[in-house]
């Protein structure tokens, strides 16, 4: 480990308000044991606040994807805690976990992961229906979400009738439909061209500005730059991060200007 690898700053970035939507406490994940033991994550400490988009960068094998999988409860930590909206997810049973995943966490994957047999609107409505919302209400919400993305015209299209960019935007809409406030995105711009990738990032950014918390793994600096904070991982540890100093003043100055 290089000596300048300053200990990661305290989890609070200061600017965003409220309590963290996601908190990783001393999170460790080890694969195998004995000689074959691999430390995928070593004591990760990270808090993500409402309104904040955090980008996680690092060379392959640095633990980026493991971090995201643990944060979403798709894998179990070797030690440490994942706390989502104040709840330690280890304390939830499988049922509670499933409910939390449905209600609090949205995922966006590189390959979109829309259900091919469902239309755009149905894909977005599905998690709500699973959660007991009426079909009618869920569809209404889905259409509203699509309208917000100016994607009304593809509401009844199936994934294979949409472009990659459209699929990914639908996936983001699905990830944040309902009251979910945490979106976890794994290389969301992976296969998209530069401008479409940007539209996807702009959408994630907007969602976070509206109060969601986002964590995005990416190896593309240009997309990471849309985040409030960039966290650098190396060999399973956070070695550095850019902080949000001045970001909000810059942004709000801009918004104020745009409003006049």
């Amino acid at each position: 480990m290089p000596s300048s690898a300053t200990p990661p700053p305290p989890p609070s970035p200061g600017t965003p308000g409220g309590s963290p939507v996601l908190e990783l406490r001393a999170l460790t994940r080890t694969h195998g044991s004995g000689i074959a033991e691999v430390h995928a994550l070593r004591g990760i400490q990270l808090a993500v606040y409402p309104g904040e988009l955090v980008a996680v960068m690092g060379p392959s094998g640095s633990g980026k994807s493991t971090l995201l999988t643990l944060a979403g409860g798709l894998d179990t930590a070797t030690s440490g805690q994942v706390v989502i909206e104040g709840q330690d997810i280890a304390a939830l049973g499988p049922k509670g976990m499933a409910a939390l995943r449905r209600r609090s966490v949205g995922y966006v994957f590189q390959d979109y992961n829309l259900i091919p047999a469902l239309t755009a609107a149905e894909n977005i409505a599905l998690p709500r229906e699973l959660d007991g919302v009426s079909v009618r209400k869920a569809r209404k919400e889905a259409l509203a979400a699509l309208a917000e993305l100016k994607l009304e015209e593809i509401a009844d299209r199936f994934p294979d009738e949409m472009s990659g960019g459209q699929q990914q935007r639908v996936a983001i809409a699905r990830a944040l439909v309902g009251d979910r406030r945490l979106v976890l995105a794994d290389e969301p711009t992976g296969a998209l061209d530069s401008e479409t990738g940007e539209a996807v990032l702009a959408l994630l950014r907007t969602r976070c500005d509206q109060g969601a918390a986002g964590v995005m793994v990416t190896h593309e600096p240009r997309y990471a730059a849309w985040a409030d904070r960039v966290v650098f991982l190396r060999d399973g540890s956070i070695v550095d991060q850019t902080l949000t100093t001045g970001a909000d003043s810059l942004l709000s100055a801009g918004t104020a200007e745009a409003a006049t």
Partner: protein, 207 residues
């Protein structure tokens, strides 16, 4: 950066006086490369000397107006048609710094890389915020479009640097691993020495 051609391009749109040229240049480029009035007037007098512009009358407020000549138009057209020369790149401090950091005593080159990466990403975050702000409303006039292009150029340039830094780091790691697996005569921290073992390293990396 060619102030000379920038001013000619602005003058092609009609006669202008010095401080207006300065304002227009800056609003096009978002004050990325601020000009002082002195630079504007020095450039104008050289352009006048070279027959590219003439001083021609003044406006109601008494500002001396400059007008582009046919020679100036030809020069400007030529500028647009000729690619910017990339064969003799300007000195790049970061490239020099990393080159010097290879094997430098007491310097961990990965630290140098990381602190630069931090700085570069931070700059990109700032540029991206400016860009998001510029995109919040569809750019309404050519100054806004021009500024968007300039800020995106800054982003792409910083991105190239960040990618290059990533590449340097993984290159050094790979070279260090290769050095470590060779029956080394001299055990010890290999990271900083990797690139110094050039014959083997270079042959491998070219394949």
């Amino acid at each position: 950066m060619s102030i000379r051609h920038g001013l000619l391009a602005l003058l092609e749109r009609g006669p202008r006086y010095g401080s207006r040229l300065r304002t227009e240049f800056e609003s096009r480029t978002g004050s990325t490369w601020p000009l002082n009035v002195g630079q504007v007037y020095t450039t104008l007098s050289r352009l006048e000397r070279d027959g590219m512009i003439v001083q021609d009358g003044s406006d109601d407020a008494g500002h001396d107006l400059y007008t582009i000549t046919d020679d100036g138009r030809a020069e400007l057209r030529n500028w647009f048609e000729t690619p910017v020369d990339r064969t003799s790149p300007p000195r790049d401090e970061l490239a020099i710094k990393l080159a010097m950091a290879v094997g430098a005593p007491g310097v961990d080159i990965r630290d140098v890389i990381q602190s630069q990466r931090h700085h570069t990403l931070k700059a990109m975050q700032d540029y991206t915020r400016l860009k998001a702000q510029a995109l919040a409303d569809v750019p309404a006039n050519r100054d806004e479009v021009a500024w968007l292009l300039v800020v995106e150029q800054l982003i792409f340039q910083a991105e190239a640097e960040a990618r290059w830094l990533d590449h340097c780091e993984s290159r050094l790691v790979r070279l260090a691993e290769a050095a470590a697996t060779e029956p080394a005569a001299d055990p010890g921290p290999a990271a900083a020495r990797g690139p110094a073992r050039t014959p083997a390293g270079r042959t491998r990396s070219k394949r």
